[in-house]
Subunit: 225 residues, 2 copies
């Protein structure tokens, strides 16, 4: 499949690289291609610049949000949650229409510490995106684990843990589930419609505290039943 | 230990019964003893009335919130989250002072469907209780699973899943951890201070959706790491 991965940061790099490794034709999308390539220093979170990653993944294309969204048949939202609606607007509603949009984001507000969620509780970023782009087929998934675990779940617990999906379109969820299985996920829980994204986005609150308690981001949730 | 379990509903019955079974001297607390004993029908959620449960657990004492809090050396808040502050006020700050208060509640607001949390995100019921009763040693725990699993974690996944603790007092957390181990919990994660209760309370959002997706309340979270 031809995939457009919106976002050139840690999550975008991980997903674009993994999709490419699995044989897909991948274009990464960024707000400003020149600015993205000009960055040579790690960002505030210590993530290496896109250019350094790209040197090792030259087969991945790079374009604007609109360019990547236009070329991709399946799209991934791997942008910063706080900027996702803006990034998707730049990508263009026409370029999203009719396509699967795997939304891997959480709407974290880092202006307070510990970060809070906005929206939360009676709304979610997944729902906001679906409402803003009603012709896209939004599937929230992968947002409960760190980027490295998203694409290689076997990195923790031999892969014996759970990933969740929320979305209104059954076919889109089947497409996403197939990608998740290719990534190595074995336990894929379909929670229901896109409103269930509230639940998985709200899991980031305890995730952040576990990150502090464990001193690592490499962990996952196995739903035992 | 002499335990005061505040709340005579499903969670209170489960915890009071289990503590009693483990050899503790238990007093259940309720708002209105006469009214609690007068109820002979299941409640709106289909839970059997206290009197039916009590007939099988005659060794458990029954008192007002204040009576149970006064007699208990270790206290459990198993009241309805929306009514917890009121119940604990009735229990009396003096009766809570200096004592471990295991808080097993979630602040669910059932006036909307699906239920939302109040407080949420930048506050939690655990913190509200700790602020309202600064001399109590509040430890949030057990609020991530259904009552039956709280007291018998081996009911799902052979007990190979995780329970969380949040609280400001290390000794109180040690006391609670010992009780949790007696219940059968083997993986006990200390998340940190009482503000980390935000994280576990917010897990109820996805829990409710999993309950619907699975058609059962009998599941738990194993943190794979």
């Amino acid at each position: 499949v031809k995939a457009g991965v919106l976002g050139s940061g840690r999550v975008g790099q991980a997903i674009a690289g993994r999709l490419s490794e699995l044989g897909h034709d991948v274009v990464a999308g960024t707000r400003d291609v020149e600015a993205t390539l000009a960055r040579t220093e790690p960002d505030a979170m210590g993530n290496r610049p896109f250019s350094a990653w790209w040197a090792e993944h030259p087969q991945v294309g790079l374009a604007t949000f609109a360019g990547a969204a236009e070329q991709g048949e399946v799209l991934v939202n791997a942008t910063n949650g706080a900027a996702s609606l803006q990034a998707l607007t730049a990508a263009g509603a026409d370029n999203l229409a009719g396509k699967v949009l795997l939304d891997a984001t959480n709407p974290l507000d880092f202006s307070v510490m510990p970060p809070t969620l906005n929206p939360v509780n009676s709304d979610s970023l997944g729902e906001q995106i679906q409402r803003a782009f009603p012709e896209a087929k939004v599937v929230k998934a992968l947002n409960t684990v760190t980027a490295a675990v998203m694409i290689r779940p076997a990195m923790v617990g031999d892969g014996d843990h759970t990933v969740f999906m929320s979305g209104d379109d059954a076919d889109a969820k089947a497409t996403v589930a197939a990608l998740l299985r290719d990534f190595g996920w074995r336990d894929i829980v379909d929670l229901g419609d896109i409103t269930t994204a509230r639940g998985t986005e709200m899991m980031i609150a305890v995730w952040l505290r576990m990150m502090q308690a464990f001193g690592t981001t490499e962990f996952g949730y196995k739903i035992v039943r």
